[in-house]
């Protein structure tokens, strides 16, 4: 069943001085959904994500993530979600295996669980032969796939992915999305930002932020219908800066 909400946001706002980076946004995300969080540069995506994952205090509004309140229970949120930041989130000077061990430890997994999980992930990623290589020496796409696996280590209910595929080659980018599909298929909710509009088509629903506000939110199919265009790229071009 996809009807249970795992994120509920109402009028969530973040101001830096007089500037409202996130301006009273409201939406819900359902369990197991792949939710695309789009918007032009500076629209406020990363700022909104930081509030949802409990590392930045909202200026006003409400938000519940996995049943926890962002104001009063940020620690509980952090334990129940996974997060991949826009900049790379692993240690370049640790090996693949050491990164997994390190983050497994942070997430409070037992040694045994870490051993089992890391074996599974390494096989799935096809990285068991390079597990003793330094992460810094890997191509970006591999790092991103590894980083996603690490974000899933503690079996979070929601994973927040902030531009996970920026700059990644076309084949690896697609492999990354297969990992997303798989995680969603197993019931993990995916909250993802991207500037690749073909990836927007892979989402169940998509929201488009413009200057701090959510201007559109629907399935890719409905959005294309609503704006009478053939692709999400055109939807984005129409909305994101009101050109054409």
């Amino acid at each position: 069943m996809k009807n249970e909400n795992v994120i509920e946001v109402e009028n969530l706002t973040k101001a830096f001085g007089a500037f409202k980076a996130v301006n009273a946004i409201s939406f819900e995300v359902k369990k197991g959904e792949i939710f695309g969080f789009l918007g032009a540069n500076g629209a406020g995506k990363t700022t909104a994500i930081k509030m949802l994952i409990g590392i930045s205090h909202p200026t006003s509004g409400k938000a519940k993530v996995v049943d926890f309140d962002v104001y009063t229970q940020p620690e509980a949120i952090k334990r129940n979600i996974g997060y991949m930041s826009q900049r790379f989130a692993l240690y370049d000077d640790l090996t693949v295996q050491e990164n997994i061990n390190f983050f497994g430890g942070i997430y409070g997994l037992s040694r045994k669980a870490i051993r089992q999980k890391s074996k599974d992930s390494l096989v799935e990623l096809g990285m068991h032969e390079i597990s003793s290589k330094l992460v810094g020496s890997l191509p970006l796409g591999w790092k991103q796939k590894l980083s996603f696996s690490v974000a899933l280590l503690h079996e979070p209910k929601i994973v927040f992915l902030d531009e996970p595929t920026g700059g990644v080659d076309p084949i690896t980018r697609r492999q990354f999305w297969e990992m997303i599909y798989k995680a969603a298929d197993q019931g993990t909710t995916i909250f993802v930002t991207t500037h690749y509009m073909d990836e927007a088509e892979y989402c169940d629903r998509v929201s488009i932020m413009v200057e701090g506000k959510i201007e559109a939110l629907d399935t890719p199919k409905n959005l294309k219908q609503q704006f009478k265009v053939a692709s999400m790229n055109e939807v984005f071009l129409k909305l994101a800066r009101n050109i054409e």
Binding site: N41, P139, L140, D169, P170, I171, S231, A240, R241
Partner: protein, 301 residues
């Protein structure tokens, strides 16, 4: 005034970064280096901007030798490195001013060149660069690389992390710079941008796979290609990956691009296979390969 590389090799310790790289960029050309992260694009940029010495080979930029004339090169080229090199604790305007000053010019003198892109970040000119969003940083970095009116412009993944609207504007701007006679070497992981270059070099694992006009690269795609769609995309992809006749299967927006191993391929047969695998809402229709298909095909070998 173009760029010329012949037989350039470079290794870091035992790791080969690029091997036997040879190509010319004509004066005034917009030339794309297309390839994934780690392919060797940045090494080529660093050699051409005289920041790194090649192990073997020769290269010239605007007629200047990268080894003998390195000082002259540094003054006449603009370089925007992939990971931006802004001063995080200076404001937007201070960064731009700083770059203008080290090249002995002023913002006012060359403002018309950067106007289109800089205007988008100008409302935030008093904000520190460290506080800008990812895409806004890229725009500032480009403005800084252009402020001294370079003859040759090197852009290493300038649009990674930049939103689709801004990418479109960015390329329109590159075309305008080109019209002013600036030679441009640009790298990108966005395949749709490859189509906007005069010529491209596809590069992987330090070697060039192909050099040609973008359309010519696409025309060489060896297979008939089909758009396939079904209600459950994940299941569709999995089913196709396991199908014995599949040559390649890649998600492409709302469709999956499918090619078949056989010379004679009947869509009805695939339709039936997908139906019997429990998929619904199936459509299969011929489509054209694009540059991304072509790249993935070349990269597979």
């Amino acid at each position: 005034m173009g760029i010329s590389l012949s037989n350039i090799d470079k290794s870091y310790k035992k790791q080969i970064a690029v091997r036997n790289i040879t190509f010319d960029v004509n004066p005034g050309e917009l030339f794309g280096l297309i390839g994934p992260d780690g392919a060797g694009k940045t090494t080529i940029f660093r050699i051409l901007t005289t920041l790194l010495l090649p192990d073997n080979g020769k290269a010239t930029v605007a007629g200047l030798d990268i080894i003998k004339d390195y000082k002259a090169i540094r003054n006449s080229v603009g370089y925007m490195p992939g990971r931006f090199s802004l001063y995080q604790d200076l404001t937007v305007e201070e960064n731009l001013n700083f770059f203008a000053t080290i090249f002995g010019t002023t913002i006012a003198e060359n403002y018309d060149l950067i106007k289109d892109i800089y205007e988008q970040i100008a409302p935030f000119k008093d904000r520190r660069a460290g506080k800008l969003s990812g895409g806004m940083k890229q725009k500032l970095a480009l403005s800084c690389a252009l402020i001294h009116k370079p003859k040759v412009l090197f852009l290493d993944e300038p649009t990674t992390g930049v939103d689709p609207v801004s990418r479109k504007e960015f390329w329109e701007m590159l075309k305008r710079l080109q019209k002013r006679g600036i030679t441009i070497l640009v790298s990108t992981p966005y395949m749709d941008e490859a189509a906007l270059c005069d010529r491209i070099a596809l590069i992987q694992d330090g070697e060039i796979l192909a050099i040609d006009m973008p359309q010519a690269v696409v025309n060489k795609f060896p297979k008939d290609i089909y758009n396939v769609k079904a209600d459950n995309m994940y299941k569709l992809i999995q089913t196709l990956q396991r199908y014995e006749h599949t040559y390649s299967v890649f998600p492409f927006g709302e469709f999956v691009h499918y090619t078949d191993k056989r010379v004679i391929f009947k869509t009805a047969e695939l339709q039936q296979h997908l139906e019997s695998s429990g998929l619904n809402g199936i459509t299969i229709a011929p489509t054209h390969a694009d540059i991304e298909d072509a790249f993935m095909e070349l990269a597979k070998k």
